[in-house]
Symmetry: C2
Subunit: 337 residues, 2 copies
């Protein structure tokens, strides 16, 4: 089968930062599906792994990355019970396994959902990683519920990116929260409003911006940009007994103690925790993806897909990664095969 990958970590401007190659089509085993991939989307985790996983080394076999995918089940392992050959599926994959930037991919059925019926492969490919991340952060990590949290306020740092775009929608449509999102350019401001944000603030001078908008404190904060950079602003803005969550990781130690007098909670969300640790509740990702598919088909949620490139080529992946590395992407870029 054809695949796109890399043998060494190179800047995206380098012609060899992605290469095309042929490799064996894999065979499914146990609960694995073999999926013929029709479209994939790119996420920041993709370029972080491209930049770091083969630094100062040349791999013998090229590494296939990319995890968001839409495709058709081509064959199933002997323990598969959730899907049949011919089913259209979508998923965000498992970061410990080969990725979706290839004609075919193996994937554990417990982290796969049925593709939304009403969406094109491109529109659906934009969804899985970001929806799982946003869903897990709001419902599994912060344990928000419509009964308790309907009247609460949520600040989303990074509203126009992939996860921000779907997080705004989930927070508005499923939880009824008042959503304040950061955005600074006219086009990202418009996009966040289209996703459903109630109030837009500039990320520069965040504390003053939020307070000028009429909120001394916010009940909840989710950060999709940089937990270290926004630490002091989050400490200042979070309401006593509030909850902060982030997906970014933190490169330096933090003064956690600053949250103590307010009895604040902090959660990390890493969408690959369930598959990496093969947790007992790994199948939750199957249920979340199926529920998100329903919500997309019912029109409650909208796809965040904004741009498509056509063809499983190294050139398309270089273009998509370069765009994502710019930090200026609105919504999600998709590559269809």
């Amino acid at each position: 089968m054809k695949a796109v990958g890399f043998k060494t970590s190179l800047p995206i401007t380098d012609a060899d930062s992605f290469i095309e190659f042929e490799t064996d089509k894999p065979t499914p085993d146990g609960r694995q599906l073999l999926v013929k991939v029709k479209a994939v989307s790119v996420n920041p985790v993709d370029f972080k792994i491209r930049q770091n996983s083969a630094k100062d080394t040349v791999l013998e076999q090229p590494k296939i990355i990319g995890w968001d995918a839409v495709g058709v089940v081509e064959a199933v392992g002997d323990a598969v019970s959730l899907f049949n050959v011919g089913d259209e599926v979508y998923y965000a994959g498992d970061i410990t396994k080969p990725g979706s930037n290839a004609e075919f991919q193996l994937i554990d059925e417990r982290i796969v959902g049925r593709k939304p019926y009403g969406l094109s492969a491109e529109a659906a490919a934009a969804i899985p990683l970001t929806a799982l991340t946003a869903w897990e952060i709001l419902f599994d990590r912060m344990r928000l519920s419509v009964e308790r949290d309907r009247t609460k306020t949520l600040l989303i740092i990074g509203g126009a990116g992939g996860v921000g775009s779907i997080a705004i929608q989930l927070a508005k449509k499923l939880l009824g929260l008042t959503v304040i999102a950061t955005a600074s350019r006219p086009e990202t401001i418009d996009w966040c409003k289209k996703m459903g944000a109630d109030i837009i603030v500039n990320h520069r001078d965040l504390v003053a911006e939020v307070r000028n908008a009429g909120f001394h404190y916010v009940d909840y904060i989710v950060d999709f940009v940089d937990a270290n950079l926004y630490w002091d602003a989050m400490v200042e803005l979070i309401k006593p007994q509030g909850h902060i969550a982030s997906i970014t990781g933190s490169s330096v130690p933090v003064l956690l103690n600053k949250l103590k007098n307010k009895s604040v909670s902090f959660s990390w969300e890493f969408m690959y925790t369930r598959s990496t640790y093969q947790t007992d509740d790994m199948i939750e990702q199957h249920f979340i993806l199926d529920r998100v598919a329903e919500l997309l088909d019912e029109g409650v949620l909208k796809t965040t897909h904004t741009h498509t490139l056509h063809g499983l080529t190294a050139d398309n992946f270089r273009q998509a990664h370069a765009q994502l590395e710019s930090g200026k992407t609105i919504g999600k870029w998709v590559i269809s095969f």
Copy 2:
């Protein structure tokens, strides 16, 4: 009225570390109750404030500390609606206000509960601060529930102290958790078992101790000893998607990032957050104390009271603080007037 306090922060071995003095009996206003205090208990927060609040200075008026109290309502402010003169009450007070180490004390009715009917003043005085802390950490910060968490495991670091003793009980009796508590001396091990702990481990070499007891990971950890000291052990032992909480504060920055790949949450619990920030839900402490009183009267919970000193004297407070500073106290010491 008579009170015990201090004008300067001194070692507890110093005769002037506590002094007796006369001061005006205060008058209740708004939602305040004037309570005639009958018994108080001592908590680590008391000696931390004694040691630090008048360092290198001499206050004009002696400072009255101590917050846990049992007493009788002597007079009420004009906006009081929850209590009447003559009611027996218990409470953990407000750290921003004068404390309970005095004949009379003013207290906002929203953070006061009715004293458990079946308990002596001494047995009841042991409860409020520790029960509020343990209740808030398990139910408000970690949001545990019997429906979701009955089969889960909780590691309690510091099982035999005041908060640990009541946390063991709440976790066993109200949530049905499997409780692993740390204790290292024969008498603290016995005490933790009496409180209901399923498994006792030594805090030294905590990771190996918990794993030898048959638990590779635990779902939840609450730390009542030192969040910095146990950070790496907690990082190691916490289950993917688990939750850690602590009451101790953290004197140095922490490597929060170590919790990221497991998508772990961390909460601070500070029992004085609600009263310090006058939160909208401050009255929750009234409801929690009333519920705890019911549970004590029904025999579901047991008092953690272990020792009584008699008399509102500087000497008794010196003794009680010295005991607490030793770090070897089992359960709670009470001073009755």
